[in-house]
């Protein structure tokens, strides 16, 4: 059992599943000889050859369409899009085809595919490398959208995504690629694709997040614990389908909820969670549902990036507000 960071866990999952299932192929820009700009596919070309590890021409729309085609032929393609801002050209194929082909043919053809991409900022990358893309995909019917927050979850959820019979958009938190390590065992065991993880039980407030912001959320929960505030921490992990049951159960218990996302606030994923609370959990709410989010502005270049990203302090502050500022006795 090795201590892996998140990108190594992604690599392990790919390697492990490619060894187990000869139908798994990976494709994308610079993923072969170069091993991927983040090194997610390092070693795969040598291990599995150029037929199954496909360096494509530089065309994201091509990659998406090709992935749809591959997936209809008994293969299980896993495409990499190099940076999140280059996912936009994939939306046409994902929304108009990947998510629909099963329905369009009433089950005759289907698209067991994965499109992986880094998601979010925090590594001082150039423009268009730091966008948060969840909403664009989570609104599309027929898809699954997953965003792991730890190496172990990246491993288990990616296995699940590859094995899933339907298309999955897999958004990896760029900021966590090398942020910390965790013991990850190559058990070949997948995690479920439609349940949130309760990371920490608590009684005063529910903190709900996913992806990179889970890191700050856990930090906030730690700090709040020192103040005597008991946070229930939920890692949504799968944004679509969304496991509201777990969140509702938690808020039913705590009566307070803060949702944390890096994406711009307006029409972001946190809104969907808050809306469900306002619809199904209103009567158990003691306090407004606060969303701690990125601003509704263009992701700034590196020098102001830190000023854009929410952090633990913002989360602590929001928790104080839902607790009416006064620390819980």
């Amino acid at each position: 059992m090795a201590d892996l960071n998140l990108i190594e866990a992604v690599n392990l999952a790919l390697r492990s599943e490619m060894a187990r299932d000869a139908n798994v192929v990976v494709l994308g820009e610079d993923i072969g000889r170069n091993g991927g700009v983040f090194r997610a596919t390092v070693g795969l070309l040598d291990a599995f050859g150029p037929g199954r590890v496909i360096d494509t021409p530089l065309a994201e729309n091509l990659i998406a369409g090709m992935t749809v085609g591959l997936s209809t032929q008994g293969l299980r393609p896993v495409a990499e899009i190099q940076f999140s801002g280059f996912l936009y050209p994939c939306i046409d194929q994902i929304a108009n085809h990947a998510s629909r082909l099963r329905n369009r043919t009433r089950g005759r053809l289907s698209c067991p595919l994965v499109i992986r991409a880094p998601n979010g900022g925090g590594i001082h990358a150039p423009e268009h490398h730091s966008e948060s893309m969840e909403t664009f995909f989570a609104h599309i019917p027929g898809l699954r959208v997953v965003s792991p927050s730890t190496p172990a979850r990246a491993y288990g959820l990616l296995l699940a995504a590859i094995r899933d019979p339907d298309p999955v958009v897999f958004l990896e938190p760029t900021r966590c690629y090398r942020l910390f390590r965790q013991a990850v065992e190559d058990t070949g065991e997948a995690l479920p694709l439609d349940s949130a993880f309760v990371d920490r039980e608590g009684s005063h407030v529910s903190l709900v997040s996913w992806g990179a912001m889970m890191h700050d959320t856990r930090q906030a929960a730690d700090r709040l614990a020192l103040e005597g505030v008991s946070c229930e921490v939920i890692d949504v992990a799968c944004l679509k389908p969304l496991d509201m049951d777990t969140i509702l159960a938690s808020v039913g218990k705590t009566g307070r909820c803060v949702i944390v996302q890096e994406a711009p606030r307006a029409y972001g994923p946190a809104s969907e969670i808050a809306a469900n609370l306002a619809e199904q959990g209103l009567m158990s709410l003691f306090a407004p549902v606060l969303r701690v989010c990125g601003y509704d502005t263009v992701m700034p270049l590196a020098r102001l990036e830190h000023a854009y990203l929410p952090d633990a302090a913002c989360i602590v502050d929001a928790v104080h507000r839902v607790l009416d500022v006064a620390p819980v006795a």
Partner: protein, 369 residues
Amino acid sequence: MNQGSTAVNRQVASFEVRLTRYIDPDGRGLAPLPERARDAETLRHMYRVMVETRAIDRKAVSLQRTGQLGTYASCLGQEAVGTAIGLAMREQDVLIPAYRDYAAQFLRGVPPQATFLYWAGDERSMQFPDDVPARHDFPFCVPIATQLTQAVGVAYAIKLQRRHAAVLVSCGDGATSRGDFYEAMNAAGVWGLPLVFVAVNNQWAISVPRAQQTAAQTLAQKAIAAGLPGEQVDGNDVIALRQVLGEALDAARDGHGPRLVEALTYRLHDHTTADDARRYRSEEEVKAAWQRCPILRLRAYLTAQNLWTASDEEQLDAAAAAKAESVAQAYLATTPEPPQAMFDSLYAELPASLRTQREQAGARPAKEP
């Protein structure tokens, strides 16, 4: 980088585009017929398929005109293309059509009532029977050109899996303006995929004439951008089409890589039943195009060769009309799916969180369809 030459300005590459045609618009043979379309029964079969396709097509239009079908895209004037595609393909090949390749689908086993059902707005139309060649073909593709990159994936899979098969993907002249068209050809070239691109140049993309889509002299030359062979064929000469597509598919299957075939034809009908082509093109143009109709042309040829008689024609007309009528009846007898069907093929297994929505859909009072 080229080096070592001493010329200031020298030629580094040259290309050409050629056009194939075996019978002229008046049905006169220009040369001995080619291998793949020379046998009398083959010729008669092609003729019958085209005529039957036209009868079914006309039936669809008339159902639409009488409020019994939704918007319909006619293949009038383009029957040779679908027919040649359907005949040139083998069972194991994969057809990835645009939306006017009806004859090809029929030849690959799609029941014509599925076409009607499609334009009526019923997803079961693209389910296809599971014992026909079309069972692994793609459904119609409405977002123009988006099928082309998918074809690359399918062809890549065929090559990786060492299947002795080819993909034929078709699109219109309008579709060649989308980057997808070029991205797909380019990728197919890089990997030498078993993939035949057919650009059905019917001269119009709704109201936009071919000359406004591109300054290129031919669509075939667009293959040069991807390093592929590109050729033109008279798309109203089913014999030439059958030959050229057969060669292309055989080459693809045998590992000789992709190519582009531009089929020159003409859309005789409005773009769809929702369109009125008189707004943007002259009646003279359409009249002139009728002179090049693929059906008239082959009939003239067959008649001149004594391969077709007036009584053959009479019989065929009656049979085609009967067929079209029975297709219409089969279609009209199909009742809509229940509302819950919108959930039943969404995922392999419906996520638990959507079960309530499925129930709600089923529980809503029925409304005007």
